[in-house]
Symmetry: C2
Amino acid sequence: MKKFINHPDGVVADALKGLAASDAGVRVDHENRVIYRAQPKAAGKVALISGGGSGHEPLHGGFVGLGMLDAACAGEMFTSPTPDQMFAATTEVDGGAGVLHIVKNYTGDVMNFEMAAELAADAGVAVDTVLVADDVAVEDSTWTAGRRGVGTTVLLEKIVGAAAEEGQDLATVKALAERVAANGRSMGMALTSCTVPAAGKPTFDLPEDQMEIGIGIHGEPGRHREPIASAKEIARQLVEPVLADLDFTGAPVIAMLNGMGGTPLIELYVMYGEVAELLEAAGVAVERNLVGNYITSLDMAGCSLTLLRADDEMIRLWDSPVVTAGLRWGL
Amino acid sequence: MKKFINHPDGVVADALKGLAASDAGVRVDHENRVIYRAQPKAAGKVALISGGGSGHEPLHGGFVGLGMLDAACAGEMFTSPTPDQMFAATTEVDGGAGVLHIVKNYTGDVMNFEMAAELAADAGVAVDTVLVADDVAVEDSTWTAGRRGVGTTVLLEKIVGAAAEEGQDLATVKALAERVAANGRSMGMALTSCTVPAAGKPTFDLPEDQMEIGIGIHGEPGRHREPIASAKEIARQLVEPVLADLDFTGAPVIAMLNGMGGTPLIELYVMYGEVAELLEAAGVAVERNLVGNYITSLDMAGCSLTLLRADDEMIRLWDSPVVTAGLRWGL
């Protein structure tokens, strides 16, 4: 295992130390493993919280900041944070206008955020939840009932974060979040496994000449394996199932070509060139895009495609300022 | 070889297609393999050009845009662009105020930019050159007489790009570039080799339990190999030679902890946490930082540290707006 770590059990804590040192816009509660915005909370602003297992950086801690999340709860590697963490974050960020929990559809996350929401409601905080379940690859999976929640989460945190920043109320913010979640679709694939530090060996075996289509972000099984193909053919295998699941024509689309952590940017650009060509041929109008590492799977070599069937309001919110470690523009 | 490619010989062309599709701020001359800003050139603005072998993305093509480069010439993988490309770019971007060539110190790049500068001068363009040779690891190397040019190039392109955007003249811009080049130092290391697509196998062998300290961005030999150590120890081996080479106390410092392409962000944050601690203990005041993939070496797992002994003017220029695929803030 070739990794920059001090000890396999200390990776999450050490990475949070580094994030805190590099991003002056956040402060980290190291005991609870919650990343907060550094500036005081704005009264009257709906607060957004997300969280999940670590190993997907910059998601979610790298998306805390102006125009995006108010707090992120970091779990152990590929393991849900606890209800205690989420409850602490929820009460801390509530400025009186309520809190929205953004939850990726994995059984542990769903259950723990549910418990945290109940605790927070008992404590008098208005809490609502949006669930992201956008992965078209499989219906159920190792840790999921229903579709897994993946790349749409990034786009949702950006768009809904902008709405909250404008002072929209909890019901409006929640409705927008539901609309984004309903209109996003993703599909991923892997060239290699990832290696969880504490395990010390690859999560699964993938022969040197094989790839796995439909992989999950924890290395959960996808649809099938086959010999490694050209970038053009891989792009087709990502684009087709996404387009088959939702009509992306007749609306402005936001596309994300996401690296899984071990894939260099030059290869992501090769992939994006092929994806863009296929989308154009299919009559899909990509108005905004991201190419890079946004929701990763440790050191996995691979990529995923996320498309969001947006509308003018979402595009407007997409373009408004965001200042986080993982996404920044406008200020 | 597990890579997203169509054909080993087409990777550079395909990646440029993807960059052009994703970044509306650039246009690509695919025949000459030059990336230009999409908007018309500003009269009276000094133009900045860089370039070099491909495989280091986002450097340089991802740094073309407002507040940074006017054009970048993409060579074949790890191979200098030709004087023809550089000459074409130079005459194209000159708005009458002259052109600065930003050259990393590799024999091919130096020679070819020199020829291009001569051709451009003959064509009546005022051209000047700044050479970056900031790698403290080795004195000479496989493709270099003198120190190799690495991470300081990124910081220089940002800072000098801001100065050019403000309308500073060629002599002033060049003097600033020299000051940045003189005050930047880098040191890198690798956990794994990289694999050049056309070669199809790792550039060098690095046993599973070994790392190489002082590696170059093309996999050129560094100082020595040793068993893989903790992040803390690796950080020490990057920080110490950099601090030994230049006094970084008593000035604002810009730090970059750069990933080599195959290292995920969570590990870069672990490394940055250790680096920040060592720098603080040494009395170095890091005022700005970057953590991420900025000057890569294809799929190499590894990282490099760059420190720039800045001044108030450099910090001011650092903070001004930049809108490129690889670096963006302020607008």
